[in-house]
Point group: C2
Chain length 305, copies 2
């Protein structure tokens, strides 16, 4: 089934203890689309860039069969730029600068061809814009969305309205706690379910992810990487792998949601192995399957005696 | 096989957002022995208490078939007392007081009958004492040990010597990082393996536990409890369930170590449901088996399409 992705396309400058890159391809819509492209092709991308956006990056996206008809190029503007530095333990980072540029006035217009998209993945953008996207889509089968602290704190009412029209919310642990004022993650997820989404996924970074529905709790481990070069985009790679697998299989049963969480975790684990989207550029189906099996070996145990 | 447990017996006063208790039965050796007693009986306990130690607590331990021949009663002294308060999110606590009393001069003497113990679980005590225990045991099959920040920081050389004679080290994530100065938990565990133990278990509280050997990594989820009444003793209950299962089955294969981690996690999850050792007093085999199965449901997924 078709997968539509809406979010940011950015030029990222990132420094970690293992190296640095400048003006590399980034943004939520990029990480989601590239990760989703291993399952569902062509992924439909809706975003905005400026006239300065390098042609080679467009080519890179097209090489992964990403449909760029919804990528608006504002020739007179500049692309969204973000700069960040990760600390020694990789769990915290400083944003050095955030230049929204053309992204500040992003008003997602869904091309006619994209209006019948079955699966929709909304990257972390203004909840008002997330709803505006959905108003243009004819009865999507599943709406998956991300959000962040900024919207939880600054536009709580708009976020509440958007949560009512989302099927799956993907958040990290601190966001889940902030949104609900509840420290217990299982309770927090169940509170979010009462706000609208019927599936909540809580990403816990190096501790994996929790999938919570009304009657299922599933705990996915994190892949035990010894070297993480650049954590940027891991959450979006998760969302892309998760959404891509669901779009490919068109099955939202509890068992398949679990598989989707593992594919999401697998894509996130590849993402952080190299800088920017380097590792998401040339994966093979076999590598992804192998990593899926590694997740099984990592977490399965038998019935015992 | 026989299981010998050495550690503290204490009178705990604990306050959490859900209630408080005073002078309740506590201490590492108590939590380990009670948890282990569901698998391997009688568990052999070696510890020290003062003349003030309530008889009803002795009876409570005996009711779980714990062999108290190694429990020294110093009639003229007072029992180790600890007071603590947990914060709203239950992940942090303040020690209000620590009165070592008779525990300060604890010198573990292993009764003759206990000297041929196959499985030995050393609670968190001075690493010098941990070695003194082992010197009295004739060729134990498996030595499982705990430690804490205090020994890592204050007696690093003695701890290093003790690590050389331990087979399994159970630590929490912050202790693993402190011991190795390595933020990545997998790398930290592998560094600890180079210090002596061939199995390292890293407890991650609400995020479960990691089992690491030279060639296995296993990630156990935490049981998604919505209400935790008192986290005291969870780590020791883990050690007790883990050690008890291994002593019962006398099988230290990678597959059985995984099962032991799940039984340890199960006992820890029961432990925190009530205050002090209340919940570890009257579990049934069926309840434990049921929880084991819940851990499987929580973490297993199938091969997909």
């Amino acid at each position: 089934m078709s997968l539509l992705v809406v979010g940011s396309v950015a030029l990222d400058s990132v420094e970690t203890p293992f190296g640095k890159i400048e003006n590399a391809l980034g943004g939520s819509a990029v990480y989601i689309s590239l990760s989703g492209s291993y399952f569902s092709a062509p992924v439909r991308l809706v975003a905005v860039v400026g006239g300065d956006f390098p042609k080679k990056y467009l080519k890179q996206l097209e090489e992964r069969s990403i449909d760029l008809d919804g990528l608006k190029v504002v020739e007179s503007g500049k692309t969204f730029r973000w700069g960040g530095r990760y600390h020694y333990d990789m769990n915290s980072r400083d944003s050095l600068y955030t230049e929204l540029n053309v992204f500040e006035k992003f008003d997602p217009v869904i091309p006619e061809r994209f209006k019948k998209s079955s699966y929709v993945c909304l990257g972390n953008i203004d909840p008002v814009l997330q709803r505006r996207v959905l108003e243009q889509i004819a009865k999507p089968r599943l709406v998956i969305g991300d959000t962040m602290n900024y919207w939880i704190q600054n536009t709580p009412d708009e976020l509440r309205k958007t949560l009512k029209v989302m099927d799956v919310l993907i958040v990290n642990d601190s966001e889940a706690r902030l949104l609900t004022q509840e420290p217990n993650l299982v309770k927090a997820a169940k509170q979010i379910i009462r706000m609208g989404p019927r599936v909540v996924i809580v990403k816990k970074g190096e501790h994996g992810a929790l999938l919570v529905t009304d009657d299922t709790i599933f705990s996915a481990p994190a892949y035990p990487l010894e070297t993480i070069n650049d954590p940027t985009g891991a959450g979006d790679a998760f969302a892309g792998g998760f959404s891509g697998w669901l779009a490919k299989t068109d099955d939202v049963s509890p068992e398949n949601l679990k598989r989707a969480v593992i594919y999401g975790s697998a894509l996130a684990s590849f993402c952080v192995e190299r800088f920017s989207v380097e590792r998401l550029q040339d994966l093979t189906y076999l590598e992804i399957k192998d990593r899926y099996r590694s997740f099984r070996d990592l977490s399965h145990f038998d019935d015992g005696v």
